[in-house]
Symmetry: C2
Subunit: 147 residues, 2 copies
């Protein structure tokens, strides 16, 4: 089985080739997934869980594998709620552009500019953090995930 | 335990009060959720799975309950793929407006007007089906779910 970010056969999948997400954004490697800080931090704490093997739909996963993945999604959501004092967590699996299974887990904060709207409906300039701030944010989430 | 659509104590939750979704849009009642055809059928087959008990986050669910819910989400996604010949399924749990756990499960078709975009980023006039067409669509999905 080829795991994302590991050497494997040539593939057309950006994730399996290690092209996205960036290794520097990795928060933690979990059993079925690896979790990264999303490039765009307009919504602080926006994280992405990438399935470690290649699949494109939930119904391609074995039932136990799907349950473990969703337990990891749930654990990351809980950590993000605590770290960012979120009022709600948003969860999305699309794959329209990059079909490899990846979950967006997005804390919605009390300071949210449009709290009732879907993140994807809110036009904004992407926020790219500087290296120090990004590392601090990653470390903060990682500490909560390890508890 | 109060179940959505059943008589229960007075509550501020629209879903628990039976205010949404409409009973006429119900496709099937599953173990942990009930699945409905979404009001807006601009994306044909857009369905909504509502958790039968009240909760607002994945991490509030018991592990087995969450696994069963996600198995139901997965089964509905598979049925929608078959019925609508979808090229990809989108899955989203937001709850910004109605926090009661509900999953949007949205087949993306080869005829999709913006296949790489999130549904929530595509401005459109909602499509409300007439009664006969809506009933036919509900019945078609139900037949595949029962297989």
């Amino acid at each position: 089985m080829t795991r994302a970010g590991e050497a494997g056969p040539a593939t057309a999948c950006t994730v399996c080739r290690g092209g996205w997400p960036q290794a520097a954004d990795r928060i933690a490697t979990l059993g079925e997934s690896a979790v990264y800080l999303h490039d765009d931090q307009f919504f602080p704490g926006w994280s992405v869980l990438v399935l470690r093997r290649h699949a494109t739909e939930l119904f391609e996963l074995e039932p136990d594998e799907r349950a473990r993945l969703m337990s990891e999604v749930s654990g990351v959501a809980h950590a993000l709620k605590l770290v960012f004092d979120a009022r709600k967590i948003n969860y999305a699996l699309f794959g329209n552009l990059v079909p490899h299974v990846h979950w967006h887990v997005i804390p919605r904060l009390p300071t949210d500019p449009a709290p009732l709207e879907a993140v994807f409906a809110i036009p904004h300039q992407p926020v790219r953090l500087g290296e120090v701030e990004r590392s601090d944010r990653i470390a903060g989430i990682r500490r909560h995930l390890e508890r």
